[in-house]
Symmetry: C2
Subunit: 311 residues, 2 copies
């Protein structure tokens, strides 16, 4: 995907998304020794960066495709993002969700106008249910992270950050399915001045770290992390970009995730998901490396269950 | 206090404070039927609007006074605000705090460079300890809310909000010691276009509500509220302003405070104190009154104990 495609994507989705604020904390800078710029996509519509990719993927469809709707399987933010993006564009969104998903998530999807279809809680059942909607309704399947148009959309958060601060040395983002980190790496390559992108990933779900070492997509044996947005796997569309364009992946323990999350909530005064705190944890644990550097961090989302906080 | 004094105060403190952002939520607007503008002083330096008044009070002193320092008694945000403001201006701050105050609060004051002096946990001991510092060190006593220069400083949050959105019908602020609501009422009078200021106060600490009815300063029999920033009493400097310039005081139950706080955290994605949620609760419970109106809300601070949330 080239620079023009990313520019076109951004122009296409601009009327549908917020250019979210960038915030700083002198106290966090003094803790880390780095100069950190937090790009707050927890303030994005629907509360997460996923709104960007979902919107771009739908806007890319032909009118005949739009009239038949879109379908995805997700129990996370992409389910809500596709529902809201589809609603605001005037398209139907079919959302396949495991029957075991929490009631809060089901209500959120329906609240954004998504058509909820429940299935057995396993990948095969999800894929089968999605395939059935494709066949019976003619809907277009959109993958939450392994889709070129989704990857481009997710890259626009990083593009906006660089447009505001064009001299960043590093940009850090959490790594889940790989859409955000791949899109960010493309944006940094095309718009940054020698700006390198680094991923942050839980030790418990370190498929990206191992995939970069082995050179092929590795799978996760465990997904036992508090960072529920990062339990997903890389895919064949985003992995080649990650392999080529991402500087490195830093792994983070569960304890480091919670400590960093507490710093963000207490000092930045923002509500964000556990996933968002991995990049700051990466800077804290590698403070010698990042010392004196200008570092951008993508705060990816703010949809948390306040009844279930780790503090 | 006239318009020029408020303009001068704002110009004086501008280099020392943030002009904090104003945020909106289409979902909260759809819940309330009002058009709400949240002025986020939880993002202020030190995490609360108190930084404004503390800074102004110190900057107003003569050099001979500055050289001898300032003193206050507070176990809340004003203790931290005076410490940080004094530090950034290069003045000593003596902070009288009850020995029963939490360790977190003591550490915060010392972290901002304040000189902590502990006393017995009652008002008489606090006042005596402060008086002793005035006598022995020559320090100037600064009251957290009942001080003209503090009132002017607190009014600058409302002034900034009106300068950004000059057509607000109402501005709501929580009522504790009375500095914020009095300052806001002055700012709305001098800079608003028929903009009325309304206070929001817990039923459990409704001295302002009863004082406006009786025409004299009433005391609180209980202070049993989760809104720990609002347990203080009105004073003789701010009450005359409140009596003359404030439109009305709306009382809020403890349950309403928590429900409104949850909406703010979940939807605005910001960390703020229980005190901040009273104005939104006031709009929600009086939605017919506020329907279709442009309403400013002062989010007063974001210093919370994450280990002790009401969710």
């Amino acid at each position: 995907m080239d620079k023009k495609q990313l520019v076109d994507c951004h122009n296409r989705i601009k009327p549908h998304i917020h250019n979210t604020p960038v915030i700083k904390s002198s106290l966090i800078n003094s803790i880390t020794g780095a100069d950190i710029y937090f790009k707050c996509d927890n303030f994005q519509k629907m509360g997460a960066f996923k709104m960007r990719g979902a919107t771009n993927a739908i806007l890319q469809l032909h009118d005949s495709q739009k009239s038949k709707g879109v379908v995805t399987h997700s129990s996370g933010n992409f389910a809500q993002a596709l529902s809201l993006a589809a609603k605001s564009i005037g398209v139907k969104a079919y959302i396949i969700m495991p029957s075991t998903a929490t009631e809060i998530k089901k209500i959120a999807v329906k609240g954004y106008g998504g058509i909820l279809i429940e299935c057995e809680p396993n990948l095969r059942a999800r894929e089968k249910a999605a395939q059935k909607i494709v066949e019976t309704k003619g809907a277009t399947f959109i993958h939450p992270s392994n889709d070129d148009q989704v990857i481009l959309g997710q890259g626009t958060a990083c593009k906006e950050l660089i447009e505001k601060y064009n001299n960043l040395d590093y940009i850090l983002a959490p790594v889940g399915g790989g859409g955000l980190i791949a899109g960010s790496a493309l944006a940094a390559k095309y718009f940054g001045q020698n700006c390198k992108v680094i991923g942050a990933e839980p030790y418990e779900v370190d498929d990206a770290y191992r995939s970069i070492i082995s050179g092929k997509i590795e799978t996760n044996k465990t997904t036992n992390t508090i960072a529920d947005g990062l339990k997903t796997q890389l895919g064949d569309k985003n992995f080649p970009i990650i392999k080529k364009e991402v500087h490195s992946i830093i792994r983070i323990t569960e304890k480091e995730i919670i400590e960093s999350m507490k710093i963000i909530w207490e000092r930045l005064k923002i509500v964000c998901e556990p996933s968002c705190s991995l990049p700051l944890a990466a800077v804290i644990k590698n403070n010698t490396f990042f010392k004196g550097k200008k570092v951008g961090i993508i705060i990816s989302g703010g949809n948390v269950d306040l009844k279930n906080l780790p503090f």
